[in-house]
Symmetry: D2
Subunit: 287 residues, 4 copies
């Protein structure tokens, strides 16, 4: 029933979009048995999506950070305009961009179960692979093979990107952790109480260590993903990105990029990272 409602909604939106050839962002819901909850998401559908009903698209999963939600990339970082620009200019393949939700249940989106982890009682990672991806990729015209699937995310979502791409490398063409929170408690970091559970999970899921200690065939699978690691030189989380890249380098990853640009842990950094990310993942689709 929900599917039908959603489809009708889509139809109405498409009609109201007058020939419907602009890109657009829609909000949807995936009902999760694993979580026992409905999880919202935003999805960016590229220009002319409705005009080519026979065409399927590559997909980018774009993850938000702590304090954010499925709305943040669109509302605060202008992802629609940037994706439109980049596509129109020929530097980005038309793609579907999915923005899931991993917000906590407290004020400012911080609270219980925030993040992309499998907590006891809140197996988000299982939800993501077993329910969310299948639901999304049947709901929209997504090619749906790993050669046409990429992931990127900022801060907490940069950790999620790294974790998802390392736990299940066979899903991904490219992975782009931006300003990733790969250290739970960097030097001088002071916990706020409401962040504690999340920080513990980051420390528990130490991704540079995971890579270093993985069996050789797992390392090889992870190395087959194209990696783009980007973090500001004044970001308090810089060391994590550097440590991650070092492990990749020591293992001789064929395509692992590191960028350190001017900037802090802030919105301007992610806005200016996104154009390159879109180009990088575009060039990875199909290879």
């Amino acid at each position: 029933m929900k599917r039908i409602v959603l489809s009708l909604l889509s139809l109405l939106m498409a009609l109201s979009a007058s020939a419907g050839n602009d890109s657009r962002i829609e909000t949807g819901v995936v009902s999760s048995k694993i979580l026992g909850a409905d999880k919202k998401y935003n999805v960016y559908l590229p220009k002319d999506y409705d005009l080519h009903p026979e065409r399927s698209y590559p997909v980018l999963y774009l993850l938000h950070g702590a304090h954010g939600s499925y709305q943040t990339w669109a509302k605060s970082y202008n992802m629609k305009l940037i994706a439109d620009w980049r596509t129109d200019s020929g530097f980005c393949t038309p793609m579907i961009i999915v923005m899931p939700d991993a917000s906590g249940d407290g004020p400012d989106n911080v609270g219980r179960y925030m993040g992309y982890f499998n907590y006891p009682g809140w197996r988000y990672e299982d939800f993501f692979f077993d329910e969310f991806i299948p639901a999304i990729e049947s709901r929209y015209r997504i090619i749906g093979d790993s050669a046409h699937r990429a992931i990127a995310g900022l801060s907490m979502g940069g950790h999620g990107t790294t974790m998802f791409a390392m736990h299940r490398p066979e899903y991904w063409s490219s992975a782009c952790p931006l300003s990733a929170r790969l250290q739970g408690r960097p030097d001088g970091y002071k916990d706020r109480p409401e962040m504690g559970e999340y920080i513990d999970q980051v420390e528990y899921n130490d991704m540079p260590a995971y890579l270093r200690d993985a069996p050789a065939d797992k390392q090889k699978a992870i190395a087959a993903v194209r990696w783009y690691v980007d973090c500001g030189d004044d970001d308090y989380l810089l060391d994590g990105s550097i440590n991650l890249y070092k492990e990749m380098r020591m293992l001789g990853f064929p395509c692992a990029q590191l960028r350190v640009r001017e900037g802090t842990h802030s919105s301007e950094y992610w806005r200016t990272a996104l154009p390159e990310v879109l180009t990088f993942v575009s060039l990875g689709f199909g290879y």
Copy 2:
């Protein structure tokens, strides 16, 4: 032991750095006899402004566009974060940035007397030079000579930048029109009624023509300003910037820059223009 010494050093540095050493934005008012009105403004005061009461700073006047106000650069284009970044990174001289108001009196800041012009009954340009600049430059610690004064603005404010810098070139070190509205009615443009008066003024104040037809000594004075013209390749106003630059080039301006980057007439363009503008005007201060 060394670590303890370091910690003490850090502590001392932190203490000495306390008490209002962040940059900030303040809102103020200039009461204008010329306009018969109070005009608000925002002003960005650089880091440590209060710690150096003996120090004076160069100044950048940063103009908003149609539909905007004195708040727009800070609220919508993140100018504080960008200026902080750029200064901290060493690519921008600490400066005071003043954001005046030229909004109209109707909804969405559009309406009567919008813009930087001398309309009959609303002599904004006279206000700007005869009341606003003197008030601002006595109210804050601004060096106040032309070698340390620059101007930049977007769209309507790009026209204002060009007009102010051409009418009174002796005031300015650098001028940076961004996505400037230098044509009233570009091909295919449709007037909205509430914009008519403003558009008429743009056409009346045709700045490329003004430059072309100016007396030689005026041209020479305008050529002594450092110019940085920047407009997106998909901006519907591109021709205006190109025409302006052509006139400058024919006259052999010693420092006139043109940049055409990927983009449209939109916030992302101005955000990504601002870092270079801050560097450009910084390098002009004092010469």
Copy 3:
């Protein structure tokens, strides 16, 4: 016989390249009946070309400027290193890059028949399409359809790029004129005698006018090519690129890019243009 000799040479080079997995530049010759001459070329073969004998590649034709030859992109603008970098970093699809020769027969490569034109008695354009492309695309493992064929060039080669892509748009996915000589005699230009014939041909082949005056179906075919026009703001040839882009814009080309960056008509401009060109043409392959 020559073909056999060349093949043996290729074989020897491949063997001496020890597992042959680096990229390399080879020099070859195409014997032209149309020109009555042997024309040399350089070809860049991407990394692992020899390891994948079953794999075919997209192709970029990369044209040199006046005073240059088939060697100039490699010798003076470091195209091999740039293409290696860009490919390794994931921002460029592995491709074959062909650098033909349109040098004149006098000193400094200037002289009779310089350029990409059909002169009386020296039908270079006919040679290019009827002999050169077929020879090259059978000699190397090139996909050979228009979706996987692009062209770019600097100065005189920027004119050649524009002319070839407008005369035969059905051949090309992308076209990238860089600092193109689209005006024969810009304001203030002084002919050197040995350049006269070439300059006359540029004026005769006025490409912005050609586009403007083309029949609608021809314009539509030209608009189906992805265009990337790039020229320095201090280049004496800037007006030509701007005029070209204006015609494209008036006709509503779906993908026509203009970039104006800091710089003059010089090697640094082309080196810094090439990375973006490689990305742009890569993203066009297959669409």
Copy 4:
């Protein structure tokens, strides 16, 4: 009539601009008692140097790498064109750029006493501070205080930059190590015999360790220099730059920049680094 006036103006401007107003590179020699040798250098004198005999300039010392000489920045990395461009565009203060020589005495400029070190019997660092700087700064119109003196260099010269700026921080406004060789023998590095003495010196002069272990007042003096550290993500020497930056960060340097861009240990990296370096040091002059 107006056009005639303009032409006259142009003519006058052209005339006044004649006679040596281009920038130029000169080669000179400093005879060293300390070394018992004559050491050559290149010097870049900015545009109009001869027209302003009363004007003094800031200075940048620009160091070459192993296998290079005083000629390399000009011959192989096009520093003159880049400095001209950057100055003309308003993004670089007119400055004098001095390129000293630290080549070895063997083939390919490698051999005995290569580098910027105080070897037994070849006290290059003493020569640099006690003879070279004084000779240069009396020979050209250089301001000659530390506020107007900067240093930059690549690879071996990046180590020299770091060493000179840490040993004598009171000399420098800015220091910019590019792709610096801060590790003697990175993982997997194989010594060539002729490099051994040089590599030993790099290991002996371990600059990140020097900074970490320096007394607090020395650390503070080093922190007063503006630092710009830049290294390619595929450079085999990347770890050294990262280690250096980490020490600076732990000590809370007020202006220490790190950039990691796409690239290897090669000429293209240094060419594309130079424009930002020129801007960075320009903005430091006078502070």
